[in-house]
C-alpha cells in the first residue's frame, strides 16, 4: 500500500463526522496546553529546587532548612544598580551556615564576605546574565549576552568597580593596580578612574636628552635588542626591534643628545682608575659601598645568581658595562644635578670616596654583554630613519627625547576596557572568545594579534598577568555609572612639600624615598609625620650625625650622609617644630625626676604583667626580643609624653603598628613611662658623670 493511501484511510477514520473531529481536536489542544507547565516542570531551576529539597530532607535540621527555603523563581532587584538577579532561584543555600560541608553546586554556602547579596546582588561581582533562569544563559557567553561568569581568579576586579583605593581583602587587585602604574602601561594608555582622575605612572623613565654623556651607542643597541639581558629586573619591555632598527634608533638617540653639565673631578677619576688593580683599595671601596647602605636600594647578583639588595634603584650587576666613568663619578657626587627628581640621595662624599665608589662600580662589568656589538658610524639616512622609528614606537611616551614631542593618546584609552563588547575585539588564533582571555593574551603576547602592532613584549609572570587583568577588568561601564552612595573614592595622592631651607635639604637627601611624611613617601623606614613629638632634640642631632640602628636584626638601615653641623641644626629645628602631633603635648610630662617607687612599679609591670621583654631588648644581657626597637637608651631618645600616649594607644599614633593596644590603666601607663624614661643608656650616664 502506498503512503498517500494510508493517510487517506486515517483521515477518513478520524474525521468521519463532526463529533469525532471535535474529540480529536480537543485532545490535540490539551496536549498543546500541557506543554507550558511541562516545560516549566523540566526547567533547570525547577530541577535544582527539587534536588535541594531532596538534599535537605536527609539532614537532621531539615525542618529549619525547609522553613528558610522559598520555592519558585527568586529575584533580587536593585534599580539604582541596574541589577535583576535570579541567581538565588537555584543557589538556594547561599546563607545556610549548617550546609558548610556541601560541596556540590548550586547548593554551596557563600563564603563570608563584607557585603549582603540583598544590597548588591550577585552579578555586580560575578557578572553573568542575572535575569536568566537556565544554567547556560546565566553562566556562559551566548549570542545575546557576552558577559560570562568571571573565573574566581578575576573576582577581585569587581571589588575595584566601587573601591578605588586599595583593600586588605583584594591582594590581586592591589598588585594589578600597582603594576599598571609601575610598568609604564599608563604612559601610552590613558586610564581614567570613575572620578575623572587620570592614573599616573609611579615609575620614572629616565630622560634621554643627555644620554650620550651617560652611556655608549653600543650599550643602547644591546639594551634595545633585549633589556632583560642587561638586567633581569629591568622594567622596560622588549620592543622587539630588528638589528637594523635598533642600529638606527641608537644612532638617532646619540645624535640628538645634548651635553649634560657634569662636574668632572680629575682626582675622583684618577682614584677610580687605581681601584681596578689595587686589592687594598678594592676592599676599602667595597666596605664604603656597604657602609653607605647602597644595597638597601640597589641589588647585585651574587655568585649563586641570586639578587641581593633592594629594588628601589636599578640593579647594578653589570653597571660597569653601561655607564661612562665621568658620568658615574658626577652622579655619585650629586645625582640631582643630572636628574633633579631622582630618588637617590645626595651623599656628601669626598672626591676620594666618589673615586672609590666609581672604581668599585665600574668593576661590575660583563665583558660578554657588548662583545658582539659592532656598529659602523651612522649615516644621516640611518639617523633620520631612527627618528621615524622613535615616533612610530612612541618612545617619547615614556622618555624625554630631544626633538621628539611626547605623543598624546599613543595607544587606545582603557577607561572602559572592562566592558568592551567582545564582538568589537579581534582575537588572535587560539584565544577563547571572552574579554578576560583577550586581555590576558594581549598582555602575554601582544604581537601575536597581527603584524604591525607596536605594543612591546613584557616579561610578566603568571601572577602579575592575572593581577593586571583584574585591575583592567575593574575599569568598566558599571564602575563609571555607579550611584555616588556606592562608590568609595580613592585616597587623594599627597603632594606634600616641606618648606624653606629644611625643605630643600629634605629633597636633596631624598628623605621621601624611604620615609613618609604627611602621606607622601616610601615605606622602607618609619613615618616621620610626628617625629617632632616623639623624639628629643639631642638624640635627633646625634642620630643625623651618625645614624645607628634601633632595631636588632635589621639589614636595611639609614645611611650616613656626612651632613655639616649647620645642616643638622636646620633639619633638627624643622623636624622638632613642624612635625608635631596634635594628640601629644611634648611639654606635658617631664623627661626625668620620676619617684623611685613609680619607676620600680613600672619595672615590675614591664617584666611581669605586660611581658614587654618578649619583643623589646632593655637589658642586653638577658633580653632577646627582635620585634620592637631596642629600649636601652629610650629615656634619652623619646619624650615622656610620646611614650605615655603610645602605651595608651599605639595604633592611634602609627596605624598598623604591630604593638597591640593594651587598654592600660592611667596608673600603669604612667609607671611604665617613668620606668622607660629612667633608661638613659650607659654611655649617656657616663658622659654625664664626666
Amino acid at each position: 500500500m502506498r503512503l498517500p493511501d494510508t493517510l487517506e484511510k486515517l483521515r477518513q477514520k478520524l474525521f468521519s463526522d463532526t463529533v469525532t473531529t471535535f474529540g480529536w481536536m480537543s485532545v490535540v489542544l490539551l496536549i498543546l496546553l500541557a506543554i507550558a507547565p511541562a516545560k516549566n516542570f523540566f526547567a533547570d531551576w525547577h530541577r535544582y529546587q527539587r534536588g535541594y529539597e531532596r538534599l535537605i530532607s536527609r539532614r537532621s535540621d531539615a525542618v529549619t532548612l525547609r522553613r528558610h527555603f522559598e520555592p519558585g523563581i527568586q529575584q533580587i532587584w536593585l534599580p539604582e544598580m541596574d541589577v535583576v538577579d535570579r541567581c538565588t532561584t537555584c543557589h538556594t543555600a547561599l546563607k545556610e551556615a549548617s550546609l558548610m560541608d556541601v560541596t556540590t553546586q548550586p547548593y554551596r554556602v557563600h563564603p563570608a564576605i563584607p557585603h549582603k547579596a540583598e544590597e548588591f546582588g550577585c552579578s555586580v561581582c560575578h557578572r553573568g546574565q542575572g535575569a536568566a533562569t537556565s544554567v547556560e544563559e546565566a553562566h556562559q557567553s551566548t549570542l545575546a549576552w557576552e558577559e560570562p561568569i568571571l573565573p574566581a581568579k578575576y573576582l577581585e576586579s569587581s571589588c575595584g568597580q566601587c573601591h578605588q583605593q586599595d583593600l586588605k581583602g583584594t591582594p590581586q587587585l592591589n598588585l594589578g593596580r600597582k603594576a599598571l602604574a609601575q610598568y609604564g602601561c599608563v604612559h601610552c594608555h590613558t586610564i581614567k578612574r570613575p572620578d575623572g582622575a587620570v592614573i599616573t605612572g609611579t615609575d620614572d623613565p629616565p630622560s634621554l636628552a643627555h644620554i650620550a654623556g651617560k652611556t655608549t651607542r653600543e650599550w643602547i643597541y644591546a639594551w634595545l635588542k633585549d633589556p632583560q639581558s642587561y638586567s633581569t629586573t629591568a622594567t622596560m619591555p622588549n620592543p622587539k626591534l630588528s638589528d637594523a632598527d635598533a642600529r638606527d634608533i641608537s644612532a638617532f638617540l646619540i645624535t640628538s643628545s645634548t651635553p649634560a653639565s657634569l662636574q668632572v673631578v680629575q682626582t675622583s677619576l684618577d682614584q677610580a682608575k687605581k681601584v681596578k688593580d689595587d686589592a687594598a683599595l678594592q676592599t676599602k671601596a667595597a666596605s664604603l659601598y656597604g657602609e653607605s647602605f647602597c644595597a638597601s636600594c640597589h641589588a647585585v647578583q651574587n655568585a649563586a645568581g641570586n639578587l641581593v639588595g633592594g629594588n628601589l634603584g636599578p640593579e647594578l650587576t653589570k653597571v660597569g658595562s653601561k655607564v661612562k666613568p665621568e658620568w658615574l663619578q658626577a652622579w655619585i657626587r650629586n645625582p640631582h644635578v643630572y636628574d633633579p627628581p631622582t630618588e637617590m640621595p645626595h651623599y656628601r662624599f669626598t672626591d676620594q670616596e666618589v673615586g672609590l665608589l666609581t672604581g668599585f662600580l665600574m668593576g661590575k662589568a660583563d665583558p660578554d654583554l657588548l662583545a658582539n656589538v659592532r656598529l659602523d658610524p651612522a649615516t644621516p639616512e640611518q639617523v633620520a630613519h631612527g627618528k621615524r622609528l622613535v615616533n612610530d614606537y612612541g618612545c617619547a611616551s615614556c622618555h624625554e627625547i630631544n626633538g621628539v614631542k611626547r605623543p598624546e593618546n599613543f595607544a587606545p584609552e582603557l577607561t572602559k576596557i572592562g566592558s568592551k563588547p567582545v564582538n568589537q575585539l579581534a582575537f588572535a588564533p587560539g584565544v577563547s572568545h571572552t574579554l578576560y582571555d583577550y586581555i590576558e593574551a594581549k598582555i602575554r603576547q601582544p604581537r601575536a594579534f597581527g603584524p604591525g602592532l607596536k605594543m612591546p613584549q613584557y616579561t610578566f609572570n603568571t601572577a602579575q598577568v592575572d593581577a593586571l587583568v583584574n585591575a583592567l577588568l575593574s575599569h568598566n561601564e558599571r564602575a563609571l555609572n555607579l550611584p555616588a552612595a556606592k562608590t568609595v573614592p580613592a585616597v587623594a595622592a599627597s603632594h606634600y612639600e616641606p618648606a624653606g631651607r629644611a625643605g630643600q635639604l629634605i629633597n636633596d637627601l631624598s628623605c621621601f624615598s624611604c620615609h613618609a611624611i604627611n602621606g607622601r613617601g616610601g615605606d622602607m623606614a618609619p613615618d616621620l609625620t610626628w617625629e617632632g613629638s616623639a623624639v628629643q632634640r639631642d638624640w635627633l642631632v646625634q642620630f643625623l650625625r651618625n645614624p645607628n640602628t634601633l632595631r636588632p636584626a635589621l639589614i636595611r638601615r639609614m645611611p650616613k650622609f656626612n651632613l655639616t653641623d649647620a645642616e643638622i641644626n636646620t633639619l633638627a629645628d624643622y623636624i622638632m617644630t613642624v612635625y608635631q602631633s596634635p594628640k601629644v603635648d611634648r611639654e606635658s610630662m617631664p623627661l626625668a625626676g620620676y619617684p623611685p617607687g613609680q619607676i620600680e612599679l613600672g619595672k615590675q609591670l614591664y617584666y611581669s604583667k605586660y611581658g614587654c621583654q618578649g619583643c623589646h631588648i632593655l637589658d642586653t644581657k638577658q633580653d632577646k626580643g627582635y620585634i620592637g626597637p631596642t629600649l636601652t637608651h629610650v629615656g634619652s631618645r623619646l619624650t615622656a609624653a610620646w611614650i605615655y600616649n603610645w602605651l595608651k594607644d599605639p595604633q592611634a599614633l602609627r596605624p598598623g603598628t604591630q604593638e597591640p593596644k593594651r587598654n592600660m590603666s592611667d596608673e600603669d601607663a604612667r609607671a611604665l613611662t617613668a620606668f622607660l624614661m629612667s633608661q638613659k643608656g650607659r654611655e649617656t650616664q657616663e658622659a654625664k658623670k664626666r
Partner: protein, 244 residues
C-alpha cells in the same frame, strides 16, 4: 558519479583530520625513556594560596630508583580534584630526576590532595600524594593579619628581611600548624586568648591581648586561618578535596 563520491570521501577525511588535530592538542605527554621506583616531594608541598590563583612556588617532585638515585626521563603525570590546573600536567623528569609543574588550586577553599604518578619497570603505577591549601576570602584576610601581627613569634622561619622572634621567647608559642594542640582548643577559647592575651586562659603573658587592636571579625578571620593550616586538619574544615 564516481567523481562526486571521491570528492565526498576526500572532504570527510579532511574534516576528520582537522577535528582530530584539535582534539589532539589537549595532552601530548612525552614518551618516557626510563622508569623509576619511587616518587618523593622535593619542594612546593603544603603551600597556601588564594582560591583560583596559582601557588607562589612551583611543585617539584623527584623520581628515584630502588637505590634512591635520581632517574632521568621517567614520565610523571599529575592528577587533582576538579578545578585544579597543572602547567604542565605531565612530563619527563629532568637531568636531576625532577619534574616541575605550576599549580593553580580550585575555587573551593580547603585542602587539596594532588597526586603525582609514574610507572615503574613492572608497569605498575607509583603514586605520591601532596597536599596544598586554598584560602577563601576569610582565611586570606586571616593570613594577612597573621603576617602583620602573629607570624614574627608564631612562625620559626626567618628571612634576612624579617627575623623570627620564636627562639627569643622563654615560653615557646604554638606554631599555627600544630594541629595536635590547637585542634583541641575551641573557637571561643582561641578568640579569648587572642582578645585578652595568654593570661586569660592561664597561659604565658608574653602573648599580648589583641582585642583592642583587632575587630571581632578580624579575630574570626585569624581563627579561620589557623584552622585551615593546622596539621593534622581541624575537624570542620578537615574535608580534603581529592580526586573521585
Amino acid at each position: 558519479m564516481k567523481r562526486t563520491a571521491c570528492i565526498l570521501v576526500l572532504l570527510i577525511t579532511a574534516l576528520w583530520l582537522g577535528c582530530s588535530r584539535q582534539a589532539g592538542t589537549q595532552a601530548v605527554a612525552a614518551k618516557p625513556t626510563a622508569f623509576g621506583a619511587a616518587l618523593v616531594e622535593s619542594s612546593g608541598g603544603k603551600q597556601t594560596a588564594e582560591v583560583g590563583t596559582p601557588l607562589a612556588q612551583p611543585l617539584v617532585v623527584q623520581v628515584n630508583d630502588e637505590q634512591g638515585n635520581a632517574v632521568t626521563g621517567a614520565l610523571v603525570i599529575m592528577h587533582g580534584p576538579g578545578g585544579v590546573a597543572f602547567d604542565p600536567a605531565a612530563g619527563v623528569s629532568d637531568s636531576s630526576g625532577q619534574f616541575t609543574t605550576n599549580v593553580a588550586l580550585g575555587t573551593i577553599p580547603g585542602r587539596y590532595q594532588l597526586t603525582a604518578s609514574t610507572t615503574n619497570k613492572a608497569g605498575k603505577t607509583v603514586e605520591l600524594k601532596i597536599e596544598e591549601i586554598a584560602l577563601g576570602y576569610q582565611e586570606m584576610l586571616g593570613s594577612q593579619l597573621n603576617d602583620q601581627y602573629c607570624a614574627r613569634c608564631h612562625n620559626q622561619e626567618s628571612s634576612p628581611e624579617r627575623v623570627s622572634n620564636y627562639d627569643n621567647l622563654a615560653v615557646k608559642p604554638h606554631l599555627f600548624t600544630e594541629g595536635d594542640t590547637l585542634n583541641k582548643i575551641s573557637d571561643a577559647d582561641l578568640a579569648a586568648i587572642i582578645s585578652h592575651g595568654g593570661p586569660a586562659l592561664n597561659k604565658s603573658s608574653l602573648m599580648p591581648p589583641y582585642g583592642y587592636t583587632l575587630s571581632k571579625s578580624e579575630i574570626q578571620a585569624v581563627i579561620a586561618y589557623i584552622r585551615m593550616v593546622s596539621d593534622p586538619p581541624y575537624g570542620a574544615s578537615g574535608i580534603v578535596y581529592a580526586q573521585k
